[in-house]
């Protein structure tokens, strides 16, 4: 562990630069674009400088408990992924945002989010993690709401709501953890937990901490904001959300699963359960979607499910978890790279057409080979086709499930549920291929029967040279990782084993042996079946002109957010809260109105100036007795009687 000033600089430099970019942007837009690019580039260089150095840095006293940063294998890898993707999207933003307003605001919050995200990934204790996690949530909210349309505002508010509630629940968990363990330092916590015999009391705390991170990652049942917010944000911001910010949630899950509940089968089983539901649900939602970005968003959710399944398998496999650990980190990185290409492509589509509905953008990419090939690379990658990167990580995760089934089998335990998991895993892989084929075919293969407006300006380039180069570079990386996994993927996995408490596997995985290819083949078959039998038959209908069009057949009622979360948070709970608040308030009011009845007189039939209602009344007749009986004098009489009673009480 060496002290390294680069760590805090990586976090705080972008934040300072954000302020500068705002100031520069008010004077000169072009200079600002250059400045932002330089900043993200420098940050990227900075993260690469951390490679191989086991760096750490702490700022005691800052924010009372102090901040601490660490830069070991996994953290540095995540930081490099973050900063590289940030750099690429920043370059891409320049063209995408040409016709947008409020670009200053966008760049300001984008850089703030960069610093905060790096803060999350490089954090050495959970307190630091939480601080930057919260900053990240709030600054990214502004990125989501950027377009300020009605639907955007609604989606962004869900995003903010989830961030606030998630953050607070996590805070509660951390705070209980701090009380129980006396520290929040991640390594110290790992030691502390390893020494605990009975972990039952910690599961509840773990679930609380998990809540906020799971919400950010989009894990079921906290995924509802995700299919709304991702499409609502501008494409570069969506790319950041999907490629990086969701991984911040995953980082939290990793800390919980690999440090606090290391090799804990109960916890692993729980995480696996969440992961399987997320994986399948996301894929199903994506199959039904008819909006390009929404499909990609649901796909993100599904892929996060794959990652979470891998994390769960780490817990179940205990100390033999190298395959699952490698699968986790590789799928994190692969997903980031894949989604970067996909969302940037979606950005290109939206930039030209201002539309995302599959029926409207249909056939637009037919004559655009560059975009088509880049997109195809990502489709093949995410579909888990051999020789593309997604295949590598999915194989490792699949292998780990198979391995666990064997272990169970040898131990003579029931393997039924794990076999279900395996089949669901392959099924989701198939669905992935099916929905990716759906959007690929729609965008690049089919002819659009109603394509009058879309094909104009055919001679103008549909994206700038810079964007094209970025897209190509990102797309080329995908098969490279897939073809030579032992030179690329294995290196990354090796660097991360330490963090995840795993040891490198005894023998290298033979990715292209039949036993491993079999899984991919099954998935491809399932995908083909789903595509041809379900998507083309059920999700497409002939319209009145006899053309096949995509229809959204997802039942409207089946929406967790609209049916349960929003009513619960916006109607039921406020009602109950207000009811009790009224009740509490009326306690005082009741007390006071009794006092009023006793002391003051506000009966009708007298001249009472409205503002003096309770001070005095003026009799309109000169009947002394009446006034004496009802007026201010009565009050005095009452007080006198009260005093007399008190006197009597004291005397006897």
């Amino acid at each position: 562990m060496e002290k390294n000033i680069v760590l805090p600089l990586l976090v705080f430099f972008p934040m300072v630069a954000a302020v500068l970019s705002y100031l520069i942007g008010r004077k000169n837009k072009e200079a600002r674009n250059i400045w932002v690019s330089i900043v993200t580039f420098l940050v990227m260089i900075g993260t690469f400088m951390l490679v191989g150095k086991d760096a750490s840095y702490s700022l005691p006293g800052f924010c009372s408990l102090g901040l601490s940063f660490e830069g070991d294998g996994l953290r540095v890898i995540l930081a490099i992924v973050t900063s590289s993707i940030w750099f690429i999207t920043t370059l891409f933003s320049k063209e995408y945002f040409t016709h947008f307003c409020n670009r200053n605001r966008y760049y300001f919050f984008m850089l703030m989010t960069l610093g905060a995200t790096l803060g999350v990934f490089l954090s050495g204790d959970l307190y630091t993690t939480l601080i930057f996690f919260e900053i990240m949530s709030f600054t990214s909210f502004v990125l989501v709401i950027h377009e300020e349309k009605e639907s955007t505002i609604r989606a962004a508010k869900s995003y903010l709501g989830v961030a606030i509630i998630g953050g607070l629940v996590t805070l509660m968990g951390l705070f209980l953890m701090y009380h129980m363990a006396g520290t929040l330092n991640i390594d110290a916590l790992a030691e502390f937990m390893a020494a605990q015999e009975d972990k039952r009391a910690f599961y509840a705390v773990g679930v609380l901490i998990l809540f906020g991170f799971a919400a950010k990652a989009g894990i079921f049942p906290l995924h509802t904001w995700l299919p709304e917010s991702y499409p609502a944000a501008p494409a570069p911001a969506t790319a950041l959300l999907s490629c990086v910010l969701s991984k911040a949630g995953i980082f939290g899950v990793l800390v919980l699963s690999c440090k606090i509940f290391l090799h804990d089968a109960n916890w692993g089983g729980f995480i696996l359960f969440l992961g399987v539901i997320t994986m399948v649900l996301g894929a199903v939602l994506a199959v039904f979607s008819v909006n390009l970005k929404r499909t990609l968003a649901c796909s993100s959710m599904s892929q996060i499910g794959f990652i979470v399944v891998a994390i769960g398998m780490q817990g179940l496999l205990g100390s033999h978890n190298a395959l699952a650990a490698g699968g986790t980190i590789l799928h994190v990185i692969n997903h980031s790279l894949l989604k970067l290409v996909l969302f940037l492509s979606a950005g290109v589509v939206y930039m030209n057409l201002q539309k995302l509905n599959l029926n409207e953008i249909r056939g637009w990419g037919k004559d655009k080979p560059l975009l088509k090939i880049s997109f195809l690379m990502a489709v093949l990658g995410i579909g888990g086709i051999p020789f593309w990167n997604g295949y590598i990580s999915k194989t490792m995760i699949h292998e780990s499930i198979v391995e666990y089934i064997e272990i169970l089998h040898e131990a003579g335990l029931a393997t039924g549920y794990m076999q279900t998991v395996e089949w669901l895993f392959l099924f989701s892989g198939g669905l992935t291929l099916a929905y990716m084929t759906k959007i690929f075919v729609a965008l690049f293969v089919e002819k659009n029967p109603y394509a009058e407006g879309n094909s104009k300006n055919i001679h103008e380039p549909y994206m700038s040279k810079l964007s094209a180069i970025l897209l190509i570079v990102c797309a080329v990386i995908l098969p490279v990782i897939g073809v030579v996994p032992h030179m690329t993927a294995d290196k990354i996995a090796d660097a991360s084993y330490h963090f995840m408490g795993a040891h490198a596997p005894e023998h290298a995985v033979h990715f292209f042996a039949w036993i491993n290819l079999k899984g991919a083949v099954i998935s491809v078959v399932i995908g083909a079946l789903v595509y041809f039998l379900f998507i083309r038959k059920v999700l497409m209908v002939k319209d009145h002109n006899g053309n096949l069009v995509y229809v959204d057949r997802w039942p409207v009622g089946l929406n967790l957010e609209n049916k349960i979360y929003r009513p619960a948070l916006l109607s039921w709970l406020p009602f109950i809260g207000a009811f009790f608040a009224r009740l509490a308030a009326s306690l005082t009011d009741g007390f006071i109105s009794i006092l009023r009845m006793l002391i003051f007189n506000d009966d009708t039939g007298r001249v009472v100036p409205p503002e003096d209602q309770y001070f005095s009344t003026y009799a309109d007749s000169d009947d002394d007795e009446e006034v004496y009986g009802e007026g201010f004098a009565k009050s005095l009489l009452m007080i006198g009687i009260g005093l007399a009673v008190a006197m009597l009480y004291i005397l006897f």
Binding site: E134, F138, I145, I164, G577, P610
Partner: protein, 492 residues
């Protein structure tokens, strides 16, 4: 001479305020010069008395052998006194501009200056009697400020105000009598003054008396069920609501409660008793109650007023834990809330002053037109919510930690209340900020955006200064914490 240094910051503004009453100033500039110099001079006096005089106990007046009026600057006085004297100057500057549209400024500033001395009197009091005296004075001195507008609403608010205050003081008086009978004296001594031999056998009575006094002082601290006056008093001019109802008056109530628990009855006597459970629960209920109602208020100032109710009970809750850690957390929140809430009220006042808009739905889309105002509101609002690493986060963290450490099962209810309230706080604050920056409609009726711009520097400078203070004490709370810890353990 040192004794005089302690008395001066209390007496000087009272005399100056009385002297200002009959004076008719020629113009605004002249009055501003006078009032500002009195305030600044007194702040210097106050800070001198707090940090350099070291006068010990200063006796003002002897009634009898055991009854006297004394001033004594101890650790707690230092915290409260410093907070008040710094915020007072800032508020005065803000008030100059704001009051131009309220009128009758001569009278306003006279009472405003007087109140300064009275609040410092509460802070510097050396025994229960003196505190009680200044506490009553505070009610009287602030009444004209609350009723400043003198219309029906203001008069009604003023009446409610004075009834509640008198009622509270009467309850507190009971404790005064009992402390006189069962204690070794009325001085504030860390750990309490109750005499064990006299107390033996009368614990139950004394606990009831303690509760009476707690709720008596709790009137100013707006503890349920005696909170009604506070939202009503938000009809007062903004500098008054900001300073008096977010800082001086309500914090005097909290301050008195701290004195009552830690310096009069003593935690040893109270800790673990049913009386402690009662006050913890009262505080927890008020926390949730205030936040819930704040969420339902469309009137911006009233929303902040209910938010104040909730936040005051955070402090009371911390104090009611009766551990040094609890008191530290409570005091930390006291300081944070003072700075944050005064800023929030100032922003609401700036909107009201420039545009005469008072409701949430009337300020949509103002964020960009009043950049300084709304940036201040956003930053301090985020601090109030307790988004790390901003101010409110640390105090809430400290409060929750202290609650768990205290080991009191009732305190867990309080933690639960803190979490619920945090969610509600986030909702009621972000609601305004999000609406202001992201209006729901694209078009608004003609004239909607007229006059919408930042006010002049009289108002923006205090806002900027306060926002900077909020952010800085939020990012670097360690020094503050170590001082407060010393105060809470009775070292200074």
């Amino acid at each position: 001479m040192n004794g005089f240094a302690t008395i001066l910051p209390v007496i000087f503004p009272i005399i100056a305020g009385v002297a200002l009453l009959p004076v008719k100033f020629k113009n605004r500039k002249q009055r501003e010069a006078w009032v500002l110099s009195i305030t600044i001079i007194n702040t210097i006096f106050a800070l001198y008395a707090i940090y350099f005089a070291e006068a010990g106990v200063v006796t003002l007046f002897h009634f009898s052998e055991r009854l006297s009026l004394t001033l004594h600057v101890d650790g707690l006085s230092k915290v409260f006194g410093t907070m008040v004297s710094i915020l007072w100057v800032i508020t005065t500057v803000y008030a100059f501009e704001y009051m131009t549209h309220e009128g009758r400024e001569d009278k306003f500033f006279a009472f405003f200056t007087m109140t300064y001395g009275v609040v410092l009197g509460v802070a510097f009091s050396g025994n229960f009697l003196t505190m009680y005296l200044f506490y009553e004075f505070l009610t009287l001195a602030t009444l004209p400020l609350v009723m400043h507008a003198m219309d029906d609403k203001a008069r009604h608010a003023g009446k409610t105000y004075i009834f509640y205050m008198m009622f509270g003081a009467a309850l507190a008086f009971i404790a005064f009598v009992f402390l006189y009978c069962y204690g070794d004296g009325l001085e504030f001594v860390y750990g309490g003054v109750l005499n064990r031999q006299l107390v033996a056998g009368n614990e139950y009575t004394l606990q009831i008396v303690f509760l009476a006094a707690f709720f008596g002082f709790g009137v100013k601290a707006a503890v349920l069920p005696f909170y009604r006056w506070l939202p009503k008093a938000s009809v007062a001019p903004t500098p008054v609501t900001a300073l008096l109802h977010a800082v001086a008056v309500v914090k005097s109530g909290v301050f008195a409660i701290v004195r009552l628990i830690y310096f009069s009855f003593g935690t040893e006597f109270l800790i673990g008793s049913w009386a402690q459970s009662v006050i913890l629960i009262a505080a927890a209920i008020t926390i949730v109650f205030g936040s819930t109602l704040a969420l339902r208020m469309p009137h911006i100032k009233r929303r902040f007023a209910y938010s104040t109710i909730s936040n005051l009970s955070y402090i009371v809750f911390g104090a009611a834990l009766m551990t040094p850690a609890g008191l530290t957390a409570g005091l930390l929140h006291m300081i944070y809330h003072a700075v944050i809430k005064i800023t929030l009220f100032f922003t609401a006042g700036a909107i009201l002053y420039k545009t005469h808009r008072e409701y949430l739905y009337e300020v949509e889309g103002f964020g960009r037109l009043m950049p300084i105002t709304f940036l201040s509101m956003a930053l301090t609002g985020v601090s109030l919510v307790g988004v790390p690493p901003f101010a409110g986060f640390h105090s809430k963290w400290a409060l929750a930690t202290a609650a768990v450490q205290s080991g009191n099962p009732v305190a867990y209810i309080g933690i639960f209340a803190l979490i619920i309230s945090a969610v509600l706080t986030a909702l009621y604050i972000f609601y305004i900020i999000v609406r202001a920056y992201f209006p729901r409609k694209k078009e608004y009726p003609k004239g909607y955006y007229e006059h919408v711009s930042d006010p002049n520097y009289y108002m923006t400078v205090p806002l900027v200064v306060l926002t900077i203070i909020t952010v800085v004490i939020g990012l670097f709370p360690s020094n503050l914490l170590s001082i407060l810890e010393k105060v809470a353990t009775g070292i200074i």
